[in-house]
């Protein structure tokens, strides 16, 4: 066990290090912006006094390194700063209560997680089943058709699939709403109904990816000599799959699931925009358009963090499911 523990600790340390470096990359990228944040916030007609005041408020007169560590410290303590849009509003209009980035992001983050959760709940079992079936009946008509179908849905942009679903399930047959206006205090059933269409869109894409990877992993596995050996020992097909293939398929399948959940994070952005789903992806795109830097930075870090975390989970789970590592010589 110490061997495995060591590997896992190594991976964890590497994950934290990566996240740290990623934060530097994001910070540096933002600091490459021309001119000054303060001017950006206030626009062209800003008075020098206002600019100076904002600079002081934001600590822009500090050196870059100091600012980085302050920013990092804020991020770690959950203080994501104040949105420029809010700041601008307050500076120009005065008064009013300011919304922090955290208060903007938190409910949307929950919404996005809900969307991703619903998608995963549909896509994972569905994709695994399809993948295993097409691996078992490979080169059959069924396999060829799923191959064409999944290739097509991988290749299509998310918005294409989204509009086709809208066309058939919302416009022609009004079963589901085409806009996902979700608000706080909504019942679970209603919320689910409004989330279903974006979730289905994501499911199409993710299922295709996951199914193809599962199929490849299972075919690879079925070709291994120990599977042939199990069949030559007269074991039933069911037993071959459950007893001999599955324990070894765990690592690749876990990997497939984690990678696709990570993929979901990117897919979510476009789909949220199509369905006007109040998630973090839509917030991110809006912030990009109006160059609201604190929000962009925070969203970026959240996306990257989730992505790294999922990849890390995949890594650690596959270490744990490998008998060679679990039982060292």
């Amino acid at each position: 066990m110490p061997g495995v523990l060591k590997i896992i600790l190594q991976r964890l340390a590497l994950g934290v290090l990566t996240l740290f470096i990623v934060s530097i990359v994001i910070f540096t990228a933002v600091n490459m912006l021309p001119g000054d944040f303060a001017e950006l916030i206030l626009g062209q007609g800003a008075t020098p006094e206002a600019v100076a005041s904002i600079r002081r408020d934001l600590g822009l007169d500090q050196p870059a390194l100091t600012r980085y560590f302050e920013w990092l410290g804020d991020m770690l303590t959950g203080n994501l700063g104040t949105s420029f849009a809010q700041l601008n509003f307050q500076t120009n209009m005065g008064g009013g209560e300011m919304k922090t980035v955290v208060s903007q992001i938190a409910p949307r983050f929950a919404n996005t997680m809900f969307l991703a959760g619903v998608t995963a709940a549909i896509a994972v079992p569905f994709a695994l089943m399809l993948g295993i079936l097409s691996a078992l009946y490979r080169n059959s008509v069924f396999d060829r058709f799923t191959n064409i179908f999944t290739l097509s849905s991988i290749s299509s942009p998310e918005f294409f699939l989204a509009y086709i679903l809208i066309l058939f399930l919302a416009v022609l047959n009004p079963i589901l709403p085409s806009l996902s206006n979700i608000y706080e205090g909504m019942g679970f059933g209603e919320r689910l109904q409004k989330t279903l269409l974006p979730a289905l869109t994501l499911t199409l894409v993710v299922t295709a990816h996951m199914m193809r990877m599962t199929r490849a992993a299972i075919i690879n596995l079925l070709a291994s000599p120990y599977i042939e050996m199990a069949r030559l020992k007269g074991m039933s097909p069911m037993r071959v799959i459950v007893k001999h293939a599955l324990p070894n398929a765990l690592a690749p399948i876990i990997n497939v699931i984690a990678l696709n959940l990570a993929y979901l994070i990117t897919g979510v952005v476009v789909v949220e925009v199509v369905f006007v789903y109040p998630g973090i992806g839509q917030l991110f795109v809006d912030a990009v358009k109006i160059r609201d830097i604190p929000v962009v930075q925070a969203c970026c870090l959240i996306f990257a963090g989730a992505y790294i975390l999922l990849n890390l989970t995949a890594d650690i789970l596959s270490v744990l499911s490998n008998p060679r590592l679990r039982h060292p010589k």
């Binding site: 942009p157 509009y163 022609l172 912030a287 990009v288 962009v296 970026c300």
Partner: protein
């Protein structure tokens, strides 16, 4: 809710029918191995497949206009889809036939072992390339040309709000949609192609260099790439585009150039990974050792010994990368931060035309407009993926 119940009932019926079919098969054929060893799942599959086929046929021949003279959009869309499927299958088949009888020995042999999906892919890629190159000659109008009539409906029939001069109608400021669709091929495909090329030059050369030299250069590059790949690519692209848009200011064309560079940089990390992996596999070969021991220099090693063996995986990767870049650019444009007007491009078109989808019940043709632009994107990536899938299958098939 009732629909779901019907669906479940249909599935159960299929299952029962499957059992009956297997049983009948067993007793009628005197227990031939085909029926004897057939698992229930397979029997179910056969029946389900037959049911879907029958439903398709039945639905296809439903009337497109109901008793009140109102078009039934669902049937129309379904017909279009089926017609498109049949026509493309036919075209792919004819194209393969052509390829088998025309051309050099090598190309004929290639076409002989080609599945329909791959020949369909090649045909589509050729058509896109043709349209992209000769867009100026094919398109009836310029991409930025503005006409009097705005929001003309497609169909070219003046009675239904169309204009015979504009087959697909005009957009909200009066530009001809057909021309913009055709120019879109040039802009979207061209820009994606250039981006992929840059990504390959950058990532490919660094990857091979790292694989050949190894040591500290490899370490530095690989760790750097690891970090860049830890940020999801679309998110990273959006972040950098924010900054680029500030740099570009009001120069819209500059933003497009920045976008090409940004996406090329992000995608070159993926190319680097692959090139390095392919390179490492080749570098351990004995013929590389033999060349090193002969005293050959680095350029000879890379260009004469390694690269010729990396063409096949690199070509496949080029296809996949192109799809990725193409989709990323389309997504960025769709989100409003990609290719900038006045250049026509499909992603932006989808965004601008998206609301027409709600008119599907009254005017199916209008609703098809955003789908046409989005479909143009999907069709090319599907085509490229079909070809790549075939190439990968071919190169791995030798081992099986």
């Amino acid at each position: 809710m009732t629909t779901l119940l019907y669906l479940a009932a249909a599935l159960v019926a299929c299952f029962l029918l499957g059992w009956v079919m297997r049983f009948a098969g067993q007793s009628l054929t005197g227990n031939k191995p085909f029926f004897r060893d057939m698992p229930m799942a397979v029997a179910f599959g056969y029946v389900l497949g037959a049911a879907v086929l029958l439903f398709t046929l039945w639905y296809y021949f439903q009337p497109t206009v109901d008793e009140n003279g109102v078009p039934v959009a669902g049937v129309m869309f379904f017909r279009w889809a089926v017609q498109f499927f049949v026509i493309s299958a036919l075209a792919a088949w004819l194209f393969r036939l052509l390829g088998r009888s025309v051309g050099t020995d090598g190309s004929r042999k290639l076409f002989r072992s080609m599945p329909l999906t791959a020949s369909f892919g090649i045909l589509i890629i050729l058509i896109y390339a043709f349209v992209a190159i000769f867009a100026g000659a094919i398109a009836p109008y310029g991409q930025a040309e503005v006409f009097q009539q705005v929001n003309a409906l497609p169909g070219g029939d003046a009675a239904t709000g169309g204009n015979p001069d504009h087959l697909l109608g005009t957009d909200q400021i009066g530009r001809d949609l057909l021309s913009r669709l055709i120019y879109g091929a040039q802009n979207t495909v061209g820009i994606a192609f250039a981006t992929t090329l840059i990504a390959f030059l950058l990532g490919g050369s660094l990857g091979f260099l790292a694989a050949t030299l190894q040591g500290w250069l490899d370490q530095v590059l690989s760790r750097g790439v690891d970090v860049l790949m830890a940020i999801p690519s679309l998110i990273f692209a959006l972040l950098l585009m924010t900054i680029a848009s500030a740099w570009a200011g009001s120069e819209k064309w500059l933003l497009t150039v920045y976008m090409v560079l940004i996406i090329a940089l992000i995608d070159s990390t993926r190319v680097y990974r692959l090139a390095r992996a392919v390179g490492l596999n080749i570098v351990v070969m004995d013929y590389i050792e033999a060349a090193k021991l002969r005293g050959e220099g680095l350029p000879y090693l890379i260009f004469k010994e390694i690269l010729p063996n990396a063409y096949a995986p690199l070509l496949a990767e080029f296809g996949l990368r192109f799809c990725f870049v193409f989709l990323t650019i389309a997504s960025l444009s769709f989100l409003g931060v990609g290719i900038q007007p006045p250049l026509a491009d499909w992603g932006t078109m989808v965004r601008d035309l998206a609301q027409f989808i709600n008119f599907a019940a009254f005017s199916p043709l209008t609703a098809a407009l955003p789908l046409l632009a989005a479909g143009a994107i999907a069709l090319l990536t599907v085509a490229v993926n079909f070809v790549v899938d075939w190439m990968l299958h071919k190169s791995s098939g030798l081992k099986e």
